[in-house]
């Protein structure tokens, strides 16, 4: 967790190390707000550090985040997040500056949300075996609310598909990793295990990345995270018509709700998806998933104590 601790000024770093002991595996988020206590979100509870951050700390954290090189993060500041080494995503909030009614940049950043990326090898083992028909994978949509483990599951699906499972041989897998969260690539090299036969297009906009991969890497499966924009949907339709299997995730509190989303409606018009995976996470129950087929029949429901 050195890559997270290095972000904080020494006093906070010491307090945090003391409070955390060796519970890093359970930590989901560290949330910092100016002049407010620091919030630590664990799998089963919320804890607080009495320390708060002031102007100087804020600048320190920003400098460490960007490694004194803010010019690298223009696009990220516009989108409101920076992904750091290790695939941890730091969400930002503050005051926005506009140019021509478009968000130009984020100034006076006042809140940081450090989401800890967890590599959970094997988490999708129970899911992947429902996603194939004979030796081919089916188009799959993974739905879940924020923090339900969509990216973690997607990463493990990539690993399993790229390595092959009992009755399905390894496939050529392509990941479009727009936010560098799935593979946590550093200079293009994945830091997480995403499978033997997996190629990663890092930091690339999903729509262009899918087209690039389709044209040049002849993938059998394409994985993308968090589809939402119409332009992504258009690219997904192209991938579908090219005969490549799609595995993607979308934000949503239920599958029905996602189907109603206007920007996604074309996807459902064509009845692309043959499998739906619904992920949920509650602090009391832990991590759960359900798998449905295209007619809405539940194929399985699984409950895991530990995420």
């Amino acid at each position: 967790m050195e890559e997270i601790l290095r972000l904080f000024p020494t006093p906070i770093k010491e307090k945090l190390t003391k409070q955390m002991e060796n519970r890093w595996q359970d930590l989901l988020e560290i949330r910092l707000r100016m002049f407010k206590p620091i919030e630590l979100n664990f799998t089963h509870q919320v804890e607080w550090l009495t320390e708060s951050i002031d102007d100087a700390d804020r600048n320190y954290i920003l400098n460490q985040l960007s490694e004194h090189s803010l010019y690298r993060y223009e696009e990220e500041l516009r989108e409101g997040y920076i992904t750091i080494e290790g695939g941890h995503r730091v969400g930002l909030a503050g005051k926005v500056t506009l140019a021509d009614n478009r968000v130009k940049s984020l100034k006076f950043i006042t809140s940081f949300n450090i989401r800890i990326a967890h590599e959970k090898i094997g988490v999708a083992q129970g899911i992947v075996r429902y996603l194939n028909e004979n030796t081919d994978y089916l188009h799959t949509l993974i739905v879940g609310a924020p923090q339900s483990g969509k990216t973690t599951v997607l990463r493990d699906i990539a690993r399993l598909m790229g390595n092959g499972i009992e009755n399905v041989p390894a496939k050529k897998v392509a990941i479009i990793d727009e936010r560098s969260e799935i593979a946590a690539s550093k200079n293009g090299i994945p830091q997480f295990d995403v499978g033997m036969r997996t190629d990663v297009m890092d930091a690339c906009p999903k729509s262009s990345g899918m087209m690039m991969m389709l044209r040049s890497m002849s993938p059998e499966v394409i994985l993308v995270d968090e589809i939402g924009k119409e332009i992504d949907v258009q690219a997904l339709l192209d991938v579908f018509h090219a005969g490549v299997t799609i595995v993607c995730t979308a934000h949503g509190s239920s599958i029905e709700e996602v189907k109603k989303r206007r920007s996604l409606k074309h996807l459902f018009h064509e009845d692309i998806f043959k499998r739906y995976v619904f992920l949920s996470f509650q602090q009391a129950k832990g991590f759960q998933y359900e798998i449905y087929d295209e007619h809405g029949n539940r194929l399985m429901k699984m409950l895991e104590k530990e995420r």
Binding site: N63, H68, S69, L70, R72
Partner: protein, 170 residues
């Protein structure tokens, strides 16, 4: 004996003259190196989007002398967590001033640049680099001018001064 002494003395004085002229040349060379390094930094910021640390390492490889070691030291110090980059830049400039032939004005321009590096968007960084290059170019013109003006003078002055003293003492 007198003859040998005189020759030694005159040689020493001429050598001082040549050394002063070399310093004049060296300043122009160092300024040129810095202008080149800033252009490298601009290209690296805009196209390869590396961190400052990596940019400085690259610049170190592509430059030489005091300029290279200046960037090398910056990159080295950036490997550890740094609270204020500006202080770091300032410290290294102070050291650079001692070791190089750059003048107060040259250092001042570089120190201004250090206040803005790394905190802005690419467009703004480009503007600041252009401005700094513009000022450094002026300093370079002045340095070349001085070199042309005084280069020969200091060389012959050294020799003539030596000769004068020898003549007086003889």
């Amino acid at each position: 004996m007198k003859l040998i002494g005189s020759i030694l003395f005159i040689t020493a004085c001429s050598w001082v003259g040549f050394d002063v002229s070399k310093q004049l040349n060296k300043r122009a060379h160092e300024l040129r190196s810095f202008i080149y390094s800033l252009q490298l930094i601009e290209a690296e910021m805009a196209y390869s989007r590396h961190t400052l640390k990596d940019i400085f390492l690259n610049v170190k490889r592509k430059t030489e002398g005091e300029v290279a070691s200046f960037y090398g030291r910056l990159a080295e110090r950036l490997k550890k967590p740094v609270t204020h980059f500006e202080t770091l830049w300032h410290d290294e400039l102070t050291l650079l001033k001692k070791r190089s032939t750059l003048k107060d004005n040259d250092i001042h321009i570089l120190s201004q640049f250090g206040k803005n590096i790394g905190n802005h968007t690419i467009e703004e960084q480009k503007k600041q680099i252009k401005l700094t290059v513009f000022y450094l170019q002026k300093q370079l013109d002045e340095a070349i001018d001085q070199k042309n003006k005084y280069d020969r003078t200091v060389k012959s002055l050294g020799f003539l001064f030596g000769l004068l003293i020898v003549l007086i003492l003889i």
